[in-house]
Symmetry: D2
Subunit: 461 residues, 4 copies
């Protein structure tokens, strides 16, 4: 499934290291799939924090700035999700400010559900806003809080937030790490020699050679100083609400997400799907790369041969010729090419991770058929997406979701395929270790928390 | 005199016009000499304000942004002075914020003398700062002021400021214009068809074909709406303190500054200099272009022939090869070339507008002598600069000012010239219409107003 | 296997089409894997040929030039291979010249083995060279040939060339297509509505929706005019010498190469490898993406489970932080990440397409072991590369080829793996339809043609 | 007079120096007024010649390339004139080629009158052209000439050229310098320590601190090697034909042109003009900067006061907002602003260097009048331009020249001025030392040499 979901963001923080800026950027490379709109990092040398940001990929950041120019012992980095409209450098992260607590740099992944209320209240109280990101709201909250010290101010401030957030706050000498009480998004900590490393996904640790220690706890505020770690709990919700969609699509399969291997869960989902929706097909093929693992699981469980029937072009990125007729179709063809030899005369079962709008799958199905597939069966390794997400994922409006207005049969017809099968909600949850610890609101409509007004406005960082 | 003084900033605002963005940028071209570090403009279409900024010249701004993309009926523009160090896009103007009064864009020329106190107080009160510019302080002040409406908030806010400021504040429907009570920097208003145009210098009006109406008054807050102008006085100081250095160097000679033609005053200063410091020379030459007018006056009064003995290269800008030995000297030679035929065998009187460090004049004097000048006499159309400016001009530290530690004789020796003469302070003031209305603190050390702590930190905008 | 082989080039030509420039660029996207150094296209409108080129990827070409600006009815495009040193825009293709035959644009994929002799002879005869590419040599040859018309001149000129070439020559009204007599590199023709499309690989046809017609014949000169195709044979060699390495690594698996599906051959090689070098392992994993097909074949034949144990990062491109220690290792880690859950406690068989230097595989093997692989067995779906290529592929110097100085056992030891197996030369050839029609010189040292002096200097285009 | 004349080119060569690339670029800064379209340099280290070029100003060249990267002992540089249409990097100079004489880099200022014939002949003989510049023709001629050595080849080759040229040809060990037999354009040589420096204008020597030695002789080929200079004469024309327009407008006044100070001649022309066309005016003002010297001469001779009544903006360059109505007028207003205080109530005599189309002067005249000038009298320090130039200057087509279809009275009327006076042809010539040594064809229509077909196509370099 492509181009239909916008990722949230990715964050990384390193404390007490060498070549901090360089390592932060390496880590951002590993998190790049979580955001392609802008990238940035902020480094403290103990005296002063400095920041560098660019629109675009981490590779652009590295081209536009000399990464070795900012020397320091601690740093935070951020990749921001990609949308079209309002993308400006002002909204890129980390945001660096100065306030009564000195300089603070923030890198934030998430979406506050009470952002609008907080912002209104703050404007009323005389604050000014220079960006449209949630993170600025939070910075105001820290800055205006009456507290004996910065840590207490952060604690008070995050207590007021609802929604989902993974926050790294760098002061000139300390790195604060906070995760919301539902623990919607992944956030882990690792050890790299004498330094600490915090990141959205553990694949960043692998790249840096850091050793995974544990996940940040729900409602935990971690304070990292030269003296070491200090942990406190600032909130306790009655339950957890890990985003199950991380397993389905967002996270990289090589990451350990919510303390479980993403790859393993994704594979289980493929197997469960094979059990729930068996198919009579000659081959199973994935829509590469995000559904490859699930397809492998499906093939294993069903006993049907796994094949590579669609090739993913390595070079299709953002830059594209101006829209004309057939552009969407051409974009899909640029990204994927069917392998006739694999498909011709076969009954093909295509496994994809999810269906959002369904436009891509519709084009792909036609391409498969044009390449000689006798039948096209689609199996989706997740349930129908039918509701909005208010916790960091940028789904299209409910109206555009295929499953909000169509039954699976209708969707199958729209896609022009022989059959379509979705994983069940229960089946999906059972692939995880503790089904009740997960949010599945976009599937089942059960939101773990009250959603404030205007919360629909997605905002990462 | 070159490369030794950093200009302050230039501002322009247009209300109720057509092609507002385009005209704002044209106006910025005319104000470019007031700031070459960054340029920007903000345009309101009545619903929303949008902003575009670039590091560098107005020509870069026009290359990087499509000026016709931002349609609207009112706009403000800004060129920022050039320093080396801390120049970042974040500090570029206009600054656009959102607060309880809605969106506000500010373009500001000046230097607040109580910026540090205000900032400290605000940080204490919980505000955050994303730039290091004075303008952000002022925006906070407006945002946090309790007042029945935006105009009252602005009035209250500017009443707290000390120092020098010319401010344009654009809300989505109104343009507010304010000038400090001493009226340090020039700010005028003109009529262009049905629209109003406010600018730092009247040369911008000439370019746009707008008709000069009057100067903004000291301590005046002007509110420009669809209904027209509304004027109020928010402060009254006992005296005026126009910056006399505007006449000497800053302003373009074709501008009407403080209601007088800059060219006329500059010429008078040249004449007065000729009376005060006569010279026995064959020719009078200017250091082009800033001292040309004074040199013409000197030549006229003294009866000595005016000549062009130094050529100014049209193409020497910011980009320069990396420093090596002799770079400063090479930089001067790149900018100016002596004309041997004019100089050879002549006793040359060089008129310059001012001496700050004296390094350029030292190199120029040697160049003149190498080109065959028999004698080099220097006449400066202003008194010795011996004190810091806290009102918007970026002098070097007192320690680097030639006149702070050397007598004119010593300076003449350092420059290696036959004689050196400065205009007297009294003589300078008498060239203006009302000597007591001017600040001359950098010459005489008499500051019109109490200077707060850290005020020395220059900040334009 | 990555970063050790430089691809040759890719060419495309379209005659009589609509949106020719746009379609040429789309086609180049599909050929991007054949060259990432520069991209370009030339378009004829019947009156005049114009050219656009950029250093970098097709996406850069599209960003730097307005592709719709060049309207015309015929065009040629080119992507050039990537090396570090001598890459300049001057060497980018197509090259556009003017000569007695009018304007000619050339796009060329290959390597002339008598380039040095021809160039020397031409310089002697008074010609000048502005690039270091073989194509310029050929253009000179056309220009200086005495012939009744351009077609005859081309025919005479190509008769003098030895080595490998696929050439597209665009005059203002005609497209000439030529392929060397050994048919080293792939070149095919397709029909798209009323237009003809010629390209290095058929995956470009798929993207454009063009229908494959046939391959250009060995020694064929095809003349495409408004009247249609005209075919002639300009040379006949006693044999064919298709580059077998196209199947192994170069070509995209979804292309039909030398009239056979690349994917099918690659799969057969994987199966044959499994038969020749069986392994005792729990899982088979590819080094994605180029060896995935062979690994699938290996897994199928051996009955060992196919798994994805290495993830390929979608975002690792050219831009990289400056070299420091461990850079090569970090570069490999950036590109590939092991999935611990798949590898831990398993005996792993890694299938790769080829070994050139072996440096990447060495790092990968260590990464696999660090992720818990109990044993690492390597199976290479091609024989040891031990000789230079003079026909369009940029191998490292013989001295750097692992297999030129080490036996497989020694290489296994160097790689630090339990076992290493290569496909046999005979086994490899038997996977093709007609073993004797292929060049395998880099494996067996049997060059199909005399190699001139200095021919080692690789030159694509 | 502005924007109506395109300069030719400027060349510089340095042999045997240190920091050659850097010094070549410094010299190009001084020659920038001779060409603003592209800039480039080529450096030999004795083994190899390398080249760097950019579209735009020397400042762009320095920004885009690291000037210290190319180390060597000899180099040539070039600035190319500015036109709109066909400007491409391919046409930028120096052009670097390889031929039987090895690598050659050429920097060329001029215009060959037999270019079309030569090119046709060469294409017939089998040569290919990759640019549209005359220099490539010349390089072909050198390359194809049968001669015992490079010097003889150059000698033979330049003997075939007609028209005007100043050529620098750098081989890996030698710098060749040639000037056409009429010596149309200036070219001089200077000594800088142990090195030789050749440049279009002596102002480049001043900047580098080099000492002027002499002009290159008409028809001279100078060979500069480690052994020193060797001079030969390759052609002898019956007469000289220095371009008199160099004095009038092209050259910088601080240069010694044709062994005379440009400033002196320009001043004499101003005086002569005052004698020939007296005026009843209160003030004399120049159109800065190119007519300032002539205006000073006019003022001196006439006894009328010299004033600065028009200010030239330092920042108006190439970048400009897209054309709309009134653009030309706005462009003039951007470049020049009248000083009302100087003009109001005065009878103004404006001195300009020449009239080509007259459009700028028309706008300026109106601006002066709008600023209160009572009368506007125009005096032109050259005769009416009525004929095309085929020797390196890019005049508009004859049809667009004001003087080709209008009498001075009619032009005065078109300009809307009280009076208009031109310098006479005889008067102009008498200001030089040897009137008969000059070309004045654009004034008097007497071309020193036969003009070949298509010669009208201007081509610098
Ligand atoms: N190499 C890979 N193999 C399998 N899945 C991957 C790989 N890289 C990324 N993914 C999955 O695909 C998702 C989207 O990746 P991305 O690189 O942005 O590509 P897409 O264009 O398909 O959205 C990731 O979040 C991850 O789940
Ligand atoms: N064309 C001109 N003629 C005379 N004076 C000028 C002109 N342009 C600018 N100036 C004066 O020179 C000052 C500095 O101008 P600027 O263009 O920045 O050049 P500089 O490099 O000399 O500082 C201006 O503030 C103005 O007083
Ligand atoms: N999506 C794909 N799936 C399988 N093989 C591919 C794919 N894309 C490219 N290849 C193969 O890998 C080779 C190299 O591809 P390239 O994109 O340049 O990546 P690499 O960085 O691995 O060299 C191609 O020539 C082709 O054989
Ligand atoms: N500083 C100067 N003073 C006087 N004349 C100059 C100066 N610089 C250039 N010129 C003259 O003006 C001509 C054109 O200069 P250029 O910088 O291109 O400006 P323009 O835009 O006026 O054409 C030069 O060839 C020279 O004769
Ligand atoms: S609504 Fe869906 S995407 Fe959003 S957090 Fe819940 S499971 Fe994740
Ligand atoms: S101190 Fe000098 S420069 Fe500053 S405002 Fe006063 S007169 Fe102007
Ligand atoms: S030597 Fe090898 S790479 Fe080269 S053409 Fe022959 S088989 Fe292909
Ligand atoms: S025609 Fe005019 S511009 Fe051309 S060379 Fe002769 S005098 Fe110079
Ligand atoms: Mg994605
Ligand atoms: Mg200045
Ligand atoms: Mg590759
Ligand atoms: Mg010019």
């Amino acid at each position: 499934m492509l181009d239909e979901l916008h990722e949230e963001c990715g964050v990384i923080g390193i404390y007490n290291g060498e070549n901090v800026a360089r390592n932060v950027c390496m880590g951002l490379y590993a998190l790049q799939h979580r955001g392609q709109e802008s990238a940035g990092f902020a480094i403290s040398n103990g005296e002063k924090i400095r920041v560098r940001k660019s629109m675009g990929l981490v590779s652009t950041l590295l081209r536009e700035h000399n990464v070795d120019e900012l020397q320091g012992f601690a740093g935070v980095g951020h990749v921001r999700y990609s949308t079209t409209g309002s993308s400006t450098l002002a909204n890129a992260q980390p945001i660096l400010i100065s306030c009564k607590w000195g300089q603070l740099a923030i890198a934030h992944n998430g979406n506050l559900t009470n952002a609008a209320e907080l912002r209104e209240e703050m404007e009323e109280a005389g604050h000014i806003f220079q960006t449209t990101s949630d993170s600025e709201i939070f910075l105001h909250e820290i800055a205006r809080t009456q507290a004996p010290n910065l840590k207490e101010a952060i604690k008070k401030a995050i207590s007021k937030l609802t929604g989902c957030f993974c926050m790294l706050i760098l002061s000139k000498d300390t790195l604060y790490v906070a995760r919301d009480g539902f623990a919607f998004r992944p956030l882990s900590i690792a050890r790299l020699g004498n330094s600490w490393c915090v990141a959205s996904e553990t694949c960043a640790f692998d790249l840096l050679g850091a050793n995974y220690v544990r996940d940040i706890q729900p409602g935990e505020l971690l304070t990292i100083t030269k003296e070491g770690l200090q942990s406190e709990t600032f909130t306790q919700k009655g339950r957890l609400a890990h985003c199950i969609f991380e397993y389905i699509y967002f996270a990289r399969p090589d990451s350990k997400i919510f303390e479980q291997s993403c790859d393993k869960i994704r594979r289980k989902m493929g197997k469960q799907l094979a059990r729930e929706c068996p198919v009579d097909a000659d081959i199973v093929i994935p829509v590469p790369d995000s559904s490859t693992t699930a397809a492998l699981g499906f093939a294993r469980e069903s006993g049907i041969k796994f094949e590579i029937g669609l090739l993913r072009n390595h070079y299709v990125g953002r830059t594209f010729i101006d829209p004309t007729q057939n552009v969407r179709s051409q974009k899909v063809r640029l990204k994927f090419n069917p392998i006739e030899g694999v498909l011709k005369g076969r009954k093909v079962c295509v496994v994809d991770d999810s269906i959002v709008r369904g436009t891509t799958l519709k084009i792909l199905s036609k391409m498969l058929r044009d390449s000689g597939a006798l039948e096209v069966h689609i199996r989706i390794a997740s349930p129908p997406v039918a509701h909005a997400c208010y916790f960091g994922m940028d789904f299209p409006n409910a109206g555009e979701l295929a499953a909000s207005s169509m039954s699976p049969q209708e969707i199958a017809k729209m896609l022009g395929v022989e059959s379509l099968g979705y994983l069940s909600i229960a089946g999906m949850k059972e692939c995880t270790s503790a089904p009740s610890d997960y949010c599945a609101a976009c599937f089942d409509g059960i939101y773990p928390e009250y959603i404030g007004k205007e919360a629909g406005k997605f905002s990462c960082g």
